[in-house]
């Protein structure tokens, strides 16, 4: 039983990945959920664990999709190396942006990341020869997953690609969960709780924050690479302010401080957004109202709501059952004072 408790979030994510195809009829839509969940995980590592609210996540998604697009278009590399390049480019750009931004705290940091998001947008817009400017990169191929010339997993159909993305997603989630459970993760939490105290204990705050930034950039860059292959495009809109904002909104609506919450947030945003936008093109207004509600009344997002529901159910049946299911066991550390 202990192993279930220990890996409960990874198991939950596997369950989500297996259930998505049953709930969503379009493979592309299901893949999009996982890709944005990856981006939200990267954002949550910063906001939930390190206390850094970054409006620059679209930069990493954007450069990731450009990097993958460029190497696939020009060098015909295979699937995994092109994603690795997206990750590396994401990490490198995050190192640059982080190096500048991390010296500042609080709101100043937030403003800087937004200014950098605008900077990279205009950079991508200006470098038309590389990025295709307004049109973005078109006709990006999607290679099969192959090793030594042997196709392990074809990615031609939307659902085939979904299964590839699902494997990548579960792996990354498991890795990130290990990171946040590790000493590094605990130290990041200490920084987000009280930076001055963490510094006084002797931690190198700048270095640790930068590490979180780079990991976040790598994960988000990977999401960008997967997105470019999914759509066959690396559009300018991937690097826009709006993308950064969406990633942040998914993270916050899901709830910060728990990685699984980001999966909920991304699924909510992508699926509800897809459904609502077909009903009413101005659905973003509802999203704005939801954000206002989150900031006023539900500070822990959907995950917090789910947690209190579970707690309610449990207290209701406590008399009958002594041993609740491990997955419903909300042993979540409080991350916000």
């Amino acid at each position: 039983m202990k192993i279930f408790v220990h890996y409960r979030f990874t198991l939950l994510v596997i369950a989500v990945v297996l259930l998505l195809p049953l709930m969503v009829s379009s493979g592309t839509l299901a893949t999009e959920v996982l890709i944005f969940a990856l981006a939200a995980l990267g954002c949550n590592l910063l906001l939930g664990y390190t206390g850094l609210m970054s409006f620059g996540q679209g930069i990493f998604l954007g450069v990731g999709s450009y990097a993958t697009g460029l190497v696939l278009l020009h060098w015909q590399v295979s699937l995994l190396p092109s994603l690795l390049i997206a990750m590396l480019v994401g990490a490198f750009v995050a190192l640059l942006v982080g190096w500048f931004s991390i010296r500042q705290r609080g709101t100043y940091f937030v403003m800087l990341t937004l200014a950098f998001a605008q900077m990279f947008y205009f950079l991508a817009y200006t470098l038309k020869d590389v990025t295709g400017g307004d049109n973005g990169l078109l006709n990006i191929p999607r290679p099969n997953l192959a090793l030594f010339g042997k196709v392990l997993l074809p990615t031609t159909s939307a659902w085939q690609y979904y299964s590839f993305v699902a494997i990548v997603f579960v792996l990354v989630f498991w890795l990130l969960q290990r990171i946040v459970d590790s000493v590094l993760g605990r130290t990041l939490l200490a920084i987000s709780d009280n930076e001055t105290r963490a510094a006084a204990v002797g931690y190198n705050i700048t270095l640790l924050k930068l590490a979180a930034f780079v990991i976040s950039g790598a994960v988000t860059g990977l999401a960008g690479g997967l997105h470019a292959m999914m759509t066959g495009l690396a559009p300018l809109s991937n690097i826009e302010y709006h993308t950064s904002e969406s990633i942040l909104i998914m993270t916050v609506i899901g709830g910060t401080g728990n990685l699984f919450a980001s999966v909920l947030g991304a699924a909510f945003y992508v699926l509800i957004g897809n459904w609502l936008s077909s009903l009413w093109p101005r659905w973003l207004m509802l999203l704005g109202l939801l954000l206002i509600a989150v900031s006023l009344y539900m500070h822990k997002g959907l995950y917090g709501v789910a947690q209190s529901l579970v707690a309610c159910l449990k207290s209701g049946r406590r008399s009958k059952e002594a041993d609740p299911e491990p997955m419903n066991n909300p042993e979540i550390k409080e991350t916000h004072s």
């Binding site: 010296r103 100043y108 937030v110 704005g288």
Partner: protein, 286 residues
Amino acid sequence: MNIYILQIANGIGIGMLYFLLAVGLSIVFGLLRFVNFSHGAFYLIGAYFSFQLGEMGLNFWWSLLVAPLIVGVFAWLVEKFVLRHIYALPHHFHILFTVGLALVLQEAVISYWGPLGNNISPPDILQGVVMLGSFIFPKYRLFVIAVTAVMALVLWWVLEGTRLGAIVRAGSESTEMVSLLGLNIDRIFSLVFALGALTAGLAGALAAPIRGVDPFMGVEALGIAFVVVVIGGLGSFFGALAGGLLVGIVQSLMSTIWSEGAHLMIYVAMAAVMLLRPNGLFGRSS
């Protein structure tokens, strides 16, 4: 050579507009310790209200006056009924709230006026150009420089010369102390927030005849306002002025040298200032 002098003059025009756009953000932060992510949306609705009032037949001068006032009253109501309840929360909830508000306003603008842009023409008297020695300068831009300069003087006088300004400056040092002195700090918060929104609305209304109105001008303005205060130093009046002028002149000069990179260079200038003075030109170390 002349073209560069002309571009600098042009840049001063744009820069003063950027100053007006950013100064409200900066003052609101100084007093309330609150970064307003809906500042760009206030600029947006300022521009659209003046457009709408013009469409309804109101004369330009009146719409220039009324549109920012509507924005100010709207912001005053938002502060009074919602914002003040979230001051105590961590800053990222402030940001979330104002991001949400900005989204709602932007979508409201699109659903009422449509996603496409519109043009506004300046009144007849401000159309055409004036000759300044051997330079040709658009009349309307000269008018914008004049209005923003007057606004800068008025704001400076309000902040430095009046009792309200003294309270605002004291409040940015310590709000507790100000309320201990028996002043109603809540009312001052509302007033300053409304004033900040009003200046953003005015910047929008003034910018509309130059660049037209479109629903996404708010996001662009927010980015620029942030760059201006990052360059100038958050909470500083003169920082906003210096930052605004610097950004305006860089953008204007670059548009002759390398027009595609004009916007990019604004952000490069920001990064350069960040390297030399991390707290901005007029910023105090935090």
